[in-house]
């Protein structure tokens, strides 16, 4: 039961559209629900939506398709929205069996199934990326933020070696309420962007690169050492984390 769900229900009571006793039943049922479901190999944190505003998200990495499908089924059965990240096509096949309407986003390697109402973010989240190879991570941020109720704008392939591509988009930069910047290799883009805007920048390093990019460590270090203000960083390739942090900020 999300905050908007509760809000709707109470308004319907006030407006006479719902009987107080029926409303009481529904609220009581939600309260009675255990805050987790024990599947043996997993304890689904069904309480998370209440605590954090969005249900538990499944990280597909290191789980079998069957495990993912079983957890997904339980989340959907409770009326919550589903998000699976790092999902292989095989995982999608398994999930689709359990959750027929689930959707697959191949660029983002994510599965979603939206239900119930979600509180809308206040402004636009701008997702910026440095190069074409950063696309999967950027798209994971996009899908995450979108399913969490945010309006998204994309600005892709504007790496610092050709600054004019970024400087040409000042207007879109200035109109965002929070910016997610995705970059691999030398990871300089968040510093440059944060020097141009007045809003928080969430930096997402990617593993794009070779040699001493060390799988994204070089980009991560650059972002943590940023000489610009208002930059905070998430794990390498963690598009989900970037999108989620941006959504929390955009919902304030």
């Amino acid at each position: 039961m999300t905050d908007p769900d509760l809000h709707d229900l109470l308004h319907r009571v006030r407006d006479g559209g719902l009987d107080p006793a029926a409303a009481a039943d529904r609220i009581r049922m939600a309260l009675r629900a255990a805050p987790f479901v024990d599947l043996g190999f997993a304890r689904v944190d069904t309480h998370r939506e209440v605590r954090q505003g969005f249900p538990e998200v499944i990280l597909g990495l290191g789980k079998t398709p069957a495990q993912i499908a079983a957890i997904a089924e339980r989340i959907v059965a409770r009326g919550q929205t589903l998000l699976v990240t790092r999902a292989t096509p095989e995982a999608y096949d398994a999930v689709r069996g359990a959750v027929p309407g689930a959707e697959y986003h191949p660029d983002a390697r994510a599965i979603t199934y939206a239900q119930g109402s979600v509180e809308a973010g206040r402004g636009t989240i701008l997702v910026v990326c440095a190069g074409t190879s950063d696309l999967p991570v950027a798209e994971e941020a996009v899908v995450t933020a979108a399913v969490m109720g945010n309006r998204i704008d994309r600005l892709y392939d504007v790496g610092v070696a050709g600054l004019h591509r970024l400087l040409a988009e000042q207007e879109r930069l200035q109109s965002a309420r929070v910016v997610v910047v995705v970059a691999g290799m030398e990871g300089a883009l968040p510093s440059v962007v944060a020097g141009l805007v007045k809003v928080p920048v969430v930096a997402v390093p990617t593993s794009v690169g070779y040699g001493v990019s060390f799988g994204g460590v070089a980009a991560l270090l650059a972002m943590l050492n940023s000489c610009a203000n208002g930059v905070a960083v998430v794990n390498i390739d963690n598009g989900f984390g970037g999108g989620c942090m941006a959504s929390l900020i955009n919902h304030l």
Copy 2:
């Protein structure tokens, strides 16, 4: 000329308290000002307040007291608020010579001199730290956020080895608009806090620890790997960065 400065000026024009011609002069003067001042060894970015809502901040580390004082003088001369981080008492002596009213915060190792009006943050920033040794970094975050116009609440020494100290403060946790969590050693506190709140958590690792804390790297890695949602991280011991990111979020 901050946004509130401009806002005041225009309202005074509308209300008849200020002659349009005089207002025009002042705005023209602000526009005419070069966006940086060249001191030879430094180009003070006097334009930053317009671009980012707060003037350039001086990182004391690696600069001589004389260099710090010279840059500080120039910032204050332009009517901007001063913040020097990582300032030694020697640096403070030099700055006080150039900026008589400057204040020193020994716990935070920071110098401030506030002037002009600053836009107030919307809610409260809660600064949490894990242990007594993390205090200097936490205080740097506090001083930074305070000078940028935010209301601050402190919750110190609530490390995960004695969880009841944190769980006893649920109310303060829930009433913050953004939380800055400062921790060294195993860096677990941001994950636990982020599991309890619905707002963004800015995690600041500290160099507190020994052996394989590796000067804060262990805490940093733990925070970047957080299994909780809504955590973004700044550099080790970067209390300033944490406070600044929190302030940007709290001003949205």
Copy 3:
């Protein structure tokens, strides 16, 4: 000849159930046995059971199925209990040829064949893990401790992002004699658990995670830096080591 074997034999002598001469023969034979068997490519340490209370365990990693089967056969032939860790299904096929009754534990990737009597551990070993993906390592600890004569309790998927899942199980936590905590990513769980219990915690970092989890190094560092008392750590993914250490403690 395990300690309980010897104990049985001597009691049977005292009780008249065994002739002293026959007993002497058996003991002499055990003494005469060389403390290792040379297979050319391996010197099976057949003496280890006497020295350490459990026979030599075969680490499957880096050995061919044929090598594993040959060593396994020798251990079983001496009447000792067999444990092979990191065993592939191919290794199991080879072992089953040499040791028909051998059992495979796919979750734990382990082969066992129990024989003789084993001294029972005093209390219960609680095996806790943070997420579903840590399961293979947790199960390796379980199989190891079980074959060494311990009673096991499992508490899975109770990571710190949803603390209530752990706090709901205080009773099971308090009733364990030793706790094995298995976690990847930020590795915070052992610190939290050790803050709640009075018994030793053996922490097992796992390679679960991505980016700067660095294959489990982040979790390992967090565990070594634990601010809680009574935590000691084994190698990444070393469920065997965790189970074995817990068994030694539980047999005191």
Copy 4:
């Protein structure tokens, strides 16, 4: 109120030596006591003794002598035993002002002040070290385990380059209930010791060495990679952690 304290009190009630009402008062007072004391810069976890069998221990590193003395005073005032590790002589001077009877152990760099009764460990803890330079860390383990109620045996300077020094002490090795092995440089000693005994080995790497000892990292890695069973490891130079883990095991 330690377990033995409670035990004494209840026996005195049963034996008529204490009035039930008076006993009830004392227990109620202990229950009423807040589980932590807020000093502003520190929240002393006064509840830890109940939860973990030993009061909060002060890590001297990174705290001022005045902070240490203030926390120490509060712990002693509640009738609990004091242990400060990594304490400089200056810290001791400050503590002695607040806690007159406090004792300083210069080799171990520790301050202690024992009061109340402590539950005795079951057997002997053997503290082994590889070289003379490892002595401060070994002594920290000794002081820690001693103040927690354990009988200690020391076996120093028995590094693997002269194995006969260790092999000559088989009897003492065999009579320990738990062994703490302290070693720097190549860190091989815990593996060798664990191959000779049947009880748990707590390995403490030290920063002794130069070049690629990397401040103890080489020894730590060797210990985590030990080919012997029954070895678990604590942080580099963490004599306290080694002594504490050994004490928990020895109290089972």
Copy 5:
């Protein structure tokens, strides 16, 4: 005997200003000179000027003032130009004793003594640095390149967080024949500069920063991973290396 020395000498022969026999003597003397001078603790590579166009340079780091002075004396005695880098004031005192006219450059921590003629570089070397704290390294590059015969232009404190400071200097950027870019922290400046110019960029990372700047490693990695073309990198804080490489390029 530098190339210009030889050139002068032969022109003077052609022009009749020098007797062929006298010229032959001088050339023979230069040829006869051993290619190194053995001081016991050092073999001064007196031949380097012939081979590489500039005499051996003394790295002051790790040498005693007396050793530096002895080597310096030998180089000057052979008529060659002296450059000592990483020279303390104490080293300068010792050198001045042996080489009276030697000059000290405190910002650059360098000693120079020029003699003979040096071939002039073709164009201007532009030395750019990101922040005030990078100044010592930038100045080392400047002194090095200057003593090697190059015209220098300085552009300091133009870090990427305030891009307009750099973009305002397009003309100076375009008129350089080679650019040396000195930066610490996130090390993004060389990428941005290289995206704006058509000439080689020599990137010099500095140890300016804290936390995960890792003493300049973060900046180094960023520079090696640069997405811009035409960037090559030297060691951290190696202003000499940067200036020397730029000089070699500028002399082509």
Copy 6:
């Protein structure tokens, strides 16, 4: 429109071979062209040739064959020269579909398609490599420099363990205008070469080696620590970067 293109055009105007109006049209068309082309997943930096003397180069790594082909087609359509590095045979198949005349260089793993005129480099670039396994990286440098208009000389398999192989080629070493040295393992070759020549050395570490070569890090460190003057370094296996830097130098 490259510099030589413009040069040709204006000479043809001066010589009467081209009507001023027609020339003006062509120039205007080039000026009118947007400085980048937005393909959605990529913003092709079509302006780079003007800014940097060579069109944008496609790094094949991490892009799909279809993405590579689409970008390649756009570059060629604008009359620019194509270079794709790290191109698989599959990528070549895709590119050949879009750019029929494209050529594949299997040793260098590169695709090229030259058109228009290119400014010739002044001297010869000598590409040296230490061993046979370094060949792919050396060839990438060769193809890069060749397509950029340089004359190339190759000197392969002259590692320092058999110095005579290098010393036998003094003449070729001395006649180069810039030297690219490619080496893995201990990476000593650039230091030795730079000690023998008077021109800039661009060092390219390779991932050739095993164990503590750490994928080329050992070679990279050796090159950055070179005791010889005039060495600058690019990323591991970055033959393109080495060739490109050499070409920029050779075009001065």
Copy 7:
């Protein structure tokens, strides 16, 4: 022409078995031979046997079977002994085509073809290894030392967790002239062996292990930090290097 070849030839001259003129021809031919053969992609160092006592050895890693076969053919054609390390079965197939009599050693992953006479080593080289998984590296050392003319003794699977297996072989340890010790995981064996013998120990770390063995780095560090005297170390998995160093020592 090896030293023994030359020795034979001169003795045959002295003994009248060979005509001085014929001998002169042969020596002249050897002298005339160029010190390397240029294959384009490789310069075979045919002079190495004269300089170092053994012909150039081919490291199979990173070379194609065709490249290996071409180099092998050239070495054999000059009458030299062939050794290829890290050779796949595919490489062997290619080599066998060019050098029909070549032999494959699958355990050691090596190809050999011996011809000419080789100087015999003075004593026995003892190759010791810690576990069965270290066998491929130990065998590479054995094959290398054997083809270089040494007598070998093998002592396998004597890791420090069961010291009695090693102590039982004191006699073989004492009768070696040089010992090669091969170990992975914690790498303690060389320290223990060097504490027992009087001769040089060449330590070879292997990549055997998992988690924080870091592919052999833990073992390498342990060996470099050995508290025993007379240990020197080669690269991880470098059985060839260990065997070669031992052979050079054994030939003194």
Copy 8:
């Protein structure tokens, strides 16, 4: 009782110069001597000379002057030769009190006191170093090898940037029986030397350098990755280890 001591004694018996009974007494006394002396903080391994040919050496690092003097006194009292490495002048003062004739070698930071006869090494040990700053480590190797009975030749400051300084000394290189090569920075010298000689090379990396020399790690890696045969490596700055290994080889 060294081997030469025993040899002398038995020859004197054979020659009638010593009574068999008196000889027996002396041998018995040596045998009776415990193999170590327990000083509480140290177990002096007095047996090491018998086992390894040289008495226990004291590593001064991490020991107090008083501890060093006490151990030194015991070694000298047993008639053994003393060697203390990494000895400060303060340590020397303390040792001189206990061992009046002890000698200090300031360049090598070592204390020696020779007594009894020592077996002479067979040939000459050549100690080579790359630069003047490597001198302390090279001298530690020299003092170590000298006190162990070897003839030494020194070849200093012959780094690879000026190869002719090394090539000029071919004769001395060829006449050594074993070569110790000491180098910091890029650590290339051992590879070059090993390519020129036929005898074992013991490589000693030093911490000379800055930036990415990482305190000698770069040099160490280069040496372990050497493409030349017959190189084995000891710890960074371990001149003692290099000298000791060379002495063991030279005594074969």
